[in-house]
Symmetry: C2
Subunit: 268 residues, 2 copies
């Protein structure tokens, strides 16, 4: 399997695994974003993964091209956070390689990334002074000479995907380790998802609903893991309230990519 | 969307649509063949579709390469019939082009096709004297100078996929027309599937269970379309008995490919 295929397989396996409380999966859609949108993006991003694997390239530009290739359907942004993790991994091969890729980013990567961000509806914190919809932000980035790694460091305390760039892909590594520990097949994906959800507040939930809700969701997931709560009921509560752990899903995708490269078997 | 992407989207949309009585879909797997197997094949066949679109090539060899690219998981053959329809369509662009492609096949296509067939577990009729597991069959094909179109004509009376090659892709055309008539979105796929299932016996069912079962399934589907039978109950009966209309699923994929090329909207 090529790196590009491994990245696509990770995207496909993540969205197919069920039940994943609150997220689009085989059992439920959201009104505007459905399983087919996630799978369409998985298919349509292929040429950009192929280009990254064959020719290398700048990670900022690749993320922008991936968003352009996948936002031509009505499902909106499906994989922006996943692309932030996958492109360093595809360019670098594995986590060690990805760390070198993110360390080598520059101002042009940052500018391309902002252009990509502007094409999505990803929510940033309200207090953010580098608002991606504000053209002045790009000027500010230029003036400060910020690299894309600087941008991620700037966002790291409130965005767990950005944080992966700054801490050596720690949760990605943990997710891959969890997959190995849980064994082959899709149930390992659900178990690893719950393990992460039970141990760290999802920052996508925090941005949308506040940190209290993110922490409450984490405690509920821990209750499911401890056998004190029913998984199906927890799932239904999340869906009802629109609480979707989207950042942990992104990290799961990156973790599956890494685990597949280390011999983890999806097919059993 | 490139032709290759349209073919992949058709494969993805077909398997995601639900409920499709008796087949793997979003709601059910078979023990040995699951949703992920169909989606993995959809991803892994991409380089072969790309090659066909960019460089052309012989349809027999392309089908063989597609089977090789997609049979490295435990789900067995997922799309052999679909490939028989899709490669002429991708090479030719549309049905008119596909008709020219199949008319231009030769002995080498037939031999490659037999090699591909030998890699699958697709069932042929018991009375078949061109058994794909019998090396003497290839000698017989050589002696007779049969083209791949001749092979399809030979199988046409008991295989509705082969029949498409010989009658100008008639059911593929009807499926595309049904999709246009049912309107945009995935419900049109389910409705078109039921329409076909209600009007023609599925030859995959006939090979596996006999023509009587295929015809009974057709009548049941007609009952669902008439409102006399419950769709979910019919679905459960098919699954219970292992009655899966696999050939109609192949034709649905080809029909979606054609309809997408004519502007049918999957995304609504």
């Amino acid at each position: 399997m090529s790196r590009a295929e491994r990245a696509q397989m990770a995207m496909m396996l993540e969205v197919s695994a069920y039940p994943k409380p609150g997220n689009v999966d085989r059992c439920h859609d959201y009104a505007d974003t459905r399983l087919e949108h996630f799978l369409a993006s998985t298919i349509l991003v292929r040429p950009v993964f192929d280009a990254a694997e064959r020719n290398g390239g700048r990670v900022g530009r690749l993320i922008r091209e991936a968003v352009l290739a996948t936002n031509n359907h009505s499902g909106g942004n499906t994989h922006f956070g996943a692309f932030i993790l996958l492109f360093p991994l595809v360019l670098g091969g594995d986590i060690e390689g990805a760390k070198a890729v993110v360390a080598g980013t520059d101002l042009e990567d940052a500018i391309d990334f902002y252009a990509a961000f502007g094409l999505t509806e990803v929510r940033m914190g309200k207090s953010d002074d580098l608002d991606v919809n504000d053209p002045a932000s790009v000027d500010a980035i230029r003036e400060r000479g910020m690299t894309l790694l600087d941008i991620m460091a700037y966002s790291a305390d409130r965005d767990m995907v950005a944080r992966e760039w700054t801490n050596g892909f720690r949760l990605t590594r943990r997710c891959a380790d969890l997959l190995h520990a849980h064994g082959p097949g899709r149930q390992a994906i659900v178990a690893s998802f719950l393990d992460l959800l039970a141990s760290v507040p999802d920052t996508f939930i925090a941005k949308k609903h506040g940190m209290e809700v993110a922490e409450k969701t984490m405690r509920c997931a821990a209750g499911v893991r401890a056998g004190d709560r029913d998984l199906a009921a927890f799932d239904a509560e999340c869906i009802e309230a629109g609480i979707n752990p989207g950042s942990i899903a992104d990290i799961i995708i990156a973790g599956i990519y890494v685990a597949l490269g280390e011999g983890w078997q999806w097919d059993s």
